[in-house]
């Protein structure tokens, strides 16, 4: 009897863990997304600050480029179905993300491709090429924001 009770408890915990994302509060999804994009923004800002100032520290640029690339590949998990704009959810993500999923995916893919290129160029080490590809990377950010993110001001 005790074994059955313990087994039922373990099964319940396992089932809960497996299905937790389905029942996650919408605000949790939005919070995770905001945190992830803030980190991404900080890395990209650090890259641009170095490029603007001329103090290009290649080891740092390469590290940030790798982190940006990883963020670009992780971004696909940041927009679960129940995390869009709704009462009680603070998010700059527009409902168009979920209304136009193919277009949004296209924008995400562009960002991911350019993040790959940027990382390759960072590893190659030519500051001029790094500057050019960083700008193009920013361009993919802008293109997505223009279509799928609320304006900040």
């Amino acid at each position: 009897m005790v074994r059955y009770v313990i087994g039922a408890c373990v099964a319940s915990i396992a089932l809960g863990a497996a299905t937790a994302p389905l029942f996650a509060a919408p605000q949790d999804g939005a919070r995770a997304r905001i945190a992830a994009y803030r980190q991404l923004g900080e890395k990209f800002k650090a890259v641009n600050d170095m490029l603007r100032s001329g103090d290009v520290q290649l080891p740092l640029i390469r590290r940030y480029a790798g982190q940006i690339r990883n963020s670009a590949h992780n971004q696909y998990r940041l927009f679960p179905a129940n995390s869009g704009p709704q009462p009680g959810v603070k998010t700059a993500a527009l409902k168009e993300i979920w209304m136009r999923p193919n277009d949004f995916r296209t924008a995400q893919d562009k960002f991911a491709r350019q993040a790959e290129i940027f990382q390759r160029v960072a590893m190659a080490g030519d500051p001029t090429a790094i500057r050019t590809e960083a700008r193009k990377l920013g361009g993919t950010c802008k293109q997505c924001h223009d279509n799928f993110r609320a304006e900040s001001d």
């Binding site: 923004g41 800002k45 641009n48 600050d49 603007r52 527009l94 168009e96 136009r100 277009d103 949004f104 296209t106 924008a107 050019t132 960083a134 700008r135 193009k136 990377l137 920013g138 361009g139 993919t140 950010c141 802008k142 293109q143 997505c144 924001h145 223009d146 279509n147 799928f148 609320a150 304006e151 900040s152 001001d153």
Partner: protein, 169 residues
């Protein structure tokens, strides 16, 4: 004879510098600074991020001088504004029309860049003053050191209603 040659040379030079009738006046900073379309989006994005950060820092400074936030953040916040002001000069140098920046930023570059230079200098002075911790002194300097509205009134488009375009390109 020499006088005729000089007058002729002056006349020819003047003729060459007068724009043809109907032509636009020479741009102060346009064609020679053009960037590739691929890079233009990134340049616009970069300067938008600089300006957004400046807005946040200016708001924070306002809260500090109003007594809403502690004054121990005064030096860091004014320093951030000075840094942003300096960065924004270079951010607008490449000719990349778009965002909310009017084309006059580049066609009136002399005036625009002078305003930005003044912003950078005065905000740096304010940041220096903030090191003393004197909130009243910083407050008295804010009007000149954070002249956002004066420049925006001339060089920034008004915010359009939130309508997103069709399928992404």
């Amino acid at each position: 004879m020499a006088a005729i040659l000089v007058i002729t040379a002056v006349a020819v030079t003047a003729w060459q510098t007068i724009p043809a009738e109907g032509a636009a006046p020479p741009a102060s900073r346009t064609e020679s600074q053009k960037v590739s379309p691929d890079e233009a989006g990134g340049i616009i994005f970069e300067r938008q991020q600089i300006m957004l950060q400046l807005e946040k820092d200016a708001d924070k400074l306002g809260s500090i001088v109003a007594g809403v936030l502690p004054a121990d953040q005064l030096a860091a916040t004014t320093g951030a504004i000075a840094k942003g002001a300096k960065e924004s000069i270079a951010a607008f140098e490449p000719y990349a029309p778009g965002g909310r920046a009017k084309d006059t930023v580049w066609s009136d570059w002399a005036d625009y860049s002078q305003r930005m230079q003044s912003f950078a200098e005065k905000s740096a002075e304010m940041a220096k003053a903030a090191e003393t911790g004197d909130v009243a002194l910083v407050t008295s300097m804010m009007g000149d050191a954070v002249p956002c509205k004066q420049c925006h009134d001339v060089y920034r488009e008004k915010k359009k209603p939130e309508t997103k375009p069709g399928p992404a390109a």
